[in-house]
């Protein structure tokens, strides 16, 4: 049979970001997919040479505008570990709350884009309307909608008052209640089922073999979540990752839908369990120059991120490396695309929740 090569991207209606896959087809079946990245590669890891470690956090945040809080937090936590800084407890709780809010906004954002990709524009609008309410909370508590710069080595810059924390929980619970209808559509609507169910199945064994992370792995039944390690105060919360077993596109959507209500619940637990210590210190002054190295792991909305930082006792770090979740999930995506119909390629690519600017840095 004649083989055809179809370039997918970089400018493609379903892709908000440039990614290129050379799809090699036999008739309508995809035989092979060859990825090309580098459209967003900025080379920011090399900026450690000219940006001081105290300011490098602003660069790290801008690895990606969706997980910007988690990137800033990961950098701060890693540097605190290198410099043996004891961070005030309130700051750690606030970080956890913002981190879970990032997950809610990121999943809503993705569910919208996913809905747009499978042709359900109404749902796209609903998800993004809901997401704006989360962004309002972000803007009120940090001053930013996208880039927050609220993390600093040694703590956080802004406190949230106890009354405001309670109000946030109420607001998020209302949001969760109004989201149930949207969630129900994602899980049960026949047209969505028709489009996603049984498409792009990643078995549990395959997910392990290609080292998938985050919702991608959890949708294939792997109980994998960096939050389970109990770091960053997750050991003080009741937490059990959302698992699905089907491993298809629908399962990946459902995992993210359920993680939204889970995150709302985690924020409620955090506000309940954190000491009512309004006005307690939220940061410590950090002095001196860092020496040492650290590997830091964190659960971002898209999965596990790994940072490696090496400091050599100067103002400039020797090496900064971020392995982002999409980088880890691209091999899984390529595996899924092989053997599927050309028309299913956009859905498969979208359901890994690709974040290309994270991948390429």
């Amino acid at each position: 049979m004649k083989r055809t090569t179809i370039p997918f991207g970089p400018q493609h209606p379903v892709l908000p970001e440039p990614l290129v896959l050379d799809l090699i087809l036999e008739d309508e079946k995809v035989i092979d997919a060859i990825p090309t990245i580098g459209y967003i590669h900025r080379g920011l890891e090399a900026l450690v040479e000219s940006v001081e470690y105290t300011e490098f956090g602003y660069v790290v945040e801008r690895i990606c505008g969706i997980c910007s809080f988690m990137h800033g937090m990961g950098y701060a936590v890693a540097m605190e570990e290198i410099m043996a800084v004891e961070v005030p407890e309130r700051a750690r709780w606030l970080r956890l709350i913002w981190a879970e809010m990032s997950r809610i906004h990121s999943h809503l954002l993705w569910l919208g884009l996913g809905a747009d990709a499978f042709g359900f524009e109404n749902l796209f609008m609903h998800c993004w309307r809901t997401r704006e309410e989360v962004l309002d909370i972000f803007e009120k508590t940090t001053g930013g909608r996208i880039i927050f710069s609220v993390n600093r080595i040694g703590g956080v810059r802004r406190d949230i008052s106890d009354t405001e924390l309670a109000a946030i929980v109420t607001k998020l619970q209302q949001l969760g209640a109004s989201f149930t209808e949207t969630a129900r559509i994602f899980e049960t609507d026949p047209s969505i089922r028709h489009r996603l169910s049984g498409v792009g199945i990643l078995s549990r064994e395959d997910a392990h073999a290609v080292d998938a992370v985050g919702p991608m792995a959890r949708a294939s039944g792997i109980r994998m979540d960096t939050r389970l390690t109990g770091t960053h105060l997750y050991d003080r919360l009741d937490f059990e990752p959302v698992l699905e077993t089907a491993g298809d596109c629908l399962a990946r959507v459902v995992v993210r839908v359920r993680e939204i209500s889970q995150s709302i619940d985690l924020i409620r637990q955090a506000v309940d369990r954190m000491p009512k210590a309004e006005g307690a210190p939220i940061e410590v002054k950090v002095r001196g120059l860092p020496t040492g190295e650290v590997f830091e792991r964190l659960e971002q909305p898209r999965g596990e991120v790994v940072y490696y930082i090496k400091a050599n006792g100067t103002k400039y770090l020797e090496r900064f490396r971020a392995r982002t979740p999409t980088f880890a999930n691209i091999p899984a995506m390529i595996k899924l695309v092989k053997g599927c119909d050309l028309a299913d390629v956009p859905n498969i690519i979208m359901t890994i929740d690709p974040c290309i600017s994270c991948t390429e840095r």
Binding site: E52, T229, F295, R297, E304, Y308, E318, P331
Partner: protein, 168 residues
Amino acid sequence: MDGTAFLARVEQYHRDGWRLALINVTTVLPAASAAHGAPGAHGAHGAEAPAGEAPAGEAPAGEAAAVAALPMGGPGVFEIAWGFARDREFETIREQIEAGTTVPSISEFFGAAFLYENEIRELFGINVTGIGVDLKGQLYKTSTRVPFSHAAVKARLAALAAAPVKPS
């Protein structure tokens, strides 16, 4: 590095159910040229760049031979860390290699390694042999070729020394 012993260790991680968390490479600069010496004495970013640190400039033209011709970034040492994770555990295998040394691919055991290995080859100029999916130098395309090679890093540091960036 001892390729056989290394692959045996990787295979052990694979058999014990670990997953590949990252492969990181650090361009190790000799203390003198890096001038990342004693705290406070940040030579390379100040006026006193060591002598003989002329910018290495762009690698010669001839894009086709981009990946094949090694070492392209001059002599030096790279530190490679293969990181493996299993639930709460995280372990690394570390190797220090001279530029120009070939490194065996681990994609036989960890299929996802191909992306890291292609990236290492393009950004650091380290020749990884036997990559599962060989992208033949097409993954990235950068203005500075092999941007993390010793020559490229030294050139950037020298440029910074000549025109320091004012702290904001």
